[in-house]
Symmetry: C2
Subunit: 484 residues, 2 copies
């Protein structure tokens, strides 16, 4: 595997990254320097995936695809949606009308009907679902696609987080005979997403979004958020129970075994490349990317430490080990003629999970010096053992990354009993409060910070009900935060 | 693997397909019935990939990706290109201005600069290449992406062949220090595409397009065409030597070892989902899809032939064999309670490469009845041998498919000495003629049929030079055809 040669021209390898404490600067610099995305494309909010970023994307979406393939079939629906279809579901179009890109001309001709660039695909898919579904035997239908979607963002844009072209939106859509089955599917979706984020070692909190923040047209929305290093939350996945509202709009019915016809019940759930923003932000450090072994484009960097007169032996040993490791893993043997320090620096920046050094001493005694990206310590092992230890090391590393991230997240979550505390705490993280079900109290807290909604799953042990922080009536545990 | 349940509702399985002789009807019906694409999306020229079609797409593009990954790195550039960039290369924009979709509005606001939906990505990529390339050490640069591209087609549209959204355009772009290196890269691209089409068992002819039909902005264009069952040719791949014309437009230079600066030389080459149109059309027959083993979503269909009182034994044996085969291949054990005939019919339609039947007799003697999708004959083998024979059968099948397709193609190619012959023959296939290099003679023959250009590679032994069919001067072998 060749290292993209434009590393040197794009980034100044000798300068240090800004410290991670200055999260916004750190993120922006790291995205460019580690060659995830090039931010210099001449349109605001549009970015270029560098080859290295593309490799991370490929590995991350391979996991997502593997999970989806278990019970969904992949489809592809057009990127262009006629205005007539997009406008059919009134709540839905209201939710998107300010951020839809419109295609109005083909060549020099004005189009008869304007075409929306899909912001999401309900209105592209559901007119077809009406044709696909006839009887109960056609249900459930479960499909997904991974596509580019578009939003005319007027707020501050940021690579992977707030974009005008979301390049890799995984959207799943399911159709069921009953509301209960749709509910069950939302639960399954939540479990799929839990597994996905566990594999990325990213901790999350799960909330049911308040009424005014649910997906336009949905009955309810379950959302995954993670906490970024600056304490703001990033929504990294959502699952929506659509009930039968889209079914009614698009007239999707099925024949029941008794011959009657009924509207179907639907769900949809999605994850965008924000999962990669979370991956980078949650695990990264002052030296660059830290990636779980499973998704690191360079899982193992083998560094020959060359000494005059011993070059050949060292290089041979490094290559031999490299070839062996390549039979199972993504490996680079860094034969460049830079100092070892420069090589360490590069592979730290790029998040190589495991570094293996071989110098003259190691050649002689058949050993190798191993270190992990997330730990400073080095240790020596027999070269014969390296291959068979990798999987174990990879698992241990994921466990460490998850534990570390989970602890950081826990430290950013605080249960607050007073509104004053909430106001202060949300500058640092997520405030948990008890909140009654009234819209009035919800709206009041939403003025203090964004109400993420009723907590469904959180890695802390806090009473799930208690007195509403606003009115004192019986309430449920809710989360409040500043959000991306 | 589940068979998409909407088979029955979408298609009427009991009706026969139109015969392949009526190619246009056959193609249209097959695309829908075999569930490749749904043609009922409410915008002309936009189609939906069914789950089954998506699986073919996945397998075909896996091959293409594998070939590209050998010396290219994957990237992703935005789908939206500002008008200012798209318009920079005058020949290029001229070639596309009548078929570009324009985004003019974001939400309710009119955009300051109109955005083109990429028809192809030169003008999205090359302003960035200018930033990526500094010195000779950054060269060569070789990248590719697989993306959706858009053309406002005003002609008759057709699924996979002429679309308004090309959903899977593989475009590679390379940058070199010299014109010769760019030429060498075009040769390599041609070899990559040869390998790709060999693996799909699709024969091709390769021509150098005439000046007036080359890629807008290119020095020259090499194109792959295959011959469809109606005798018209389908362009299924192109490779362009761009020289330094885009480099000059986008000011892409590099520093040479001696410190001087020079413009770079570029190539680009692409394949769209037309490769799947060719796959379907070249190999399919009156019964449906015929697919090479490597890309068939259902490589092996195991059919238990159930008899009263023997159901359990037969089913057990079929499942056992199915499980074994699934360890290496994509397998369906068709346990539906339909008659065997209906099952055969379905898996013929869907192009399952190998069919394995097990009935009571086979249960008893430990055998299985095997047949291949492209041959009528059945034969009996020991069940123990099936797994280990698959690879050999798959290779033989590809060879047969290729031989058959090649013979059909050869029968559709004829060397013509008179213009009158050309006029007649192009109703059936490709006419080969000797043609001088003058634009006048080229234009004259282009009135009779489309001039594909000078023949670079053709599976027939015909003199590569001879007297021009128009003027009688010394000429080269050229191909003329009706084209899609």
């Amino acid at each position: 595997m060749s290292v993209s040669k434009n590393v040197s021209s794009v980034s100044k390898l000798k300068d240090r990254l800004p410290p991670k404490e200055k999260f916004s600067e750190w993120y922006h610099e790291l995205i460019q320097r580690a060659e995830i995305m090039d931010v210099r494309y001449p349109v605001k909010g549009l970015y270029v995936w560098f080859p290295f970023g593309c490799r991370i994307r490929r590995e991350v979406y391979k996991i997502l695809r593997e999970i989806m393939d278990r019970e969904h079939e992949e489809v592809y629906f057009p990127a262009l949606i006629p205005e007539t279809e997009l406008g059919k579901e009134s709540k839905h179009i209201k939710g998107f009308e300010n951020e839809v890109y419109w295609v109005t001309h083909g060549g020099r001709a004005e189009l008869d009907i304007r075409l929306a660039l899909r912001p999401t695909s309900e209105t592209a898919m559901y007119p077809m679902f009406k044709l696909w579904i006839r009887s109960h035997a056609d249900l459930p239908l479960r499909v997904y696609q991974i596509v580019n979607t578009f939003r005319y963002e007027t707020k501050h844009t940021r690579p992977l987080i707030r974009l005008r072209e979301i390049t890799s939106f995984k959207e799943a859509h399911t159709v069921h005979a009953t509301f209960e089955e749709a509910e069950e599917q939302v639960r399954k979706a939540v479990n799929y997403y839990k597994e996905f984020y566990r594999r990325l070692a990213i901790p999350y909190i799960i909330c049911k979004r308040p009424e005014w923040d649910k997906f336009p047209g949905a009955k309810y929305t379950i959302a995954f958020d993670t906490i970024m290093p600056d304490g703001k939350t990033l929504q990294i996945g959502t699952a929506h129970n659509l009930g039968d509202s889209f079914a009614k709009t698009f007239d999707i019915t099925y024949e029941m075994p008794n011959g009657d016809h009924s509207f179907v019940y639907q769900t949809c759930y999605g994850i965008s490349e924000r999962c990669i923003a979370a991956l980078i932000s949650v695990h990264g450090d002052d030296f660059g990317l830290v990636l779980p072994f499973e998704v690191s484009p360079v899982q193992i960097a083998v560094i020959p430490v060359l000494y005059k007169g011993k070059e050949r032996e060292v290089l041979d040993a490094a290559r031999e080990l490299g070839e062996l490791l390549k039979t199972r893993y993504r490996v680079v043997v860094d034969e460049s003629d830079e100092r070892p320090g420069a090589k360490y620096y590069r592979w730290e920046l790029k998040g190589a999970a495991i570094r293996v050094e071989i110098g003259p001493k190691e050649v002689e005694d058949g050993s190798a010096v191993v270190s992990f990206r997330d730990e400073k310590k080095k240790f020596t092992v027999s070269r014969d053992e390296v291959l068979n230890k990798i999987e174990c090391w990879a698992n241990e590393m994921r466990r460490r990354l998850y534990e570390k991230a989970l602890n950081e997240m826990k430290n950013r979550i605080k249960f607050c009993k007073k509104l004053e505390d909430v106001k202060h705490w949300i500058n640092q993280g997520v405030a948990l409060v008890h909140l009654c079900n009234s819209e009035k109290c919800g709206m009041l807290i939403d003025e203090v910070g964004s109400l993420l909604g009723e907590v469904v799953d959180i890695p802390l042990d806090i009473e799930s009900s208690g007195k509403c922080i606003i009115c004192g009536k019986e309430g449920k545990l809710n989360a409040v935060a500043r959000t991306y």
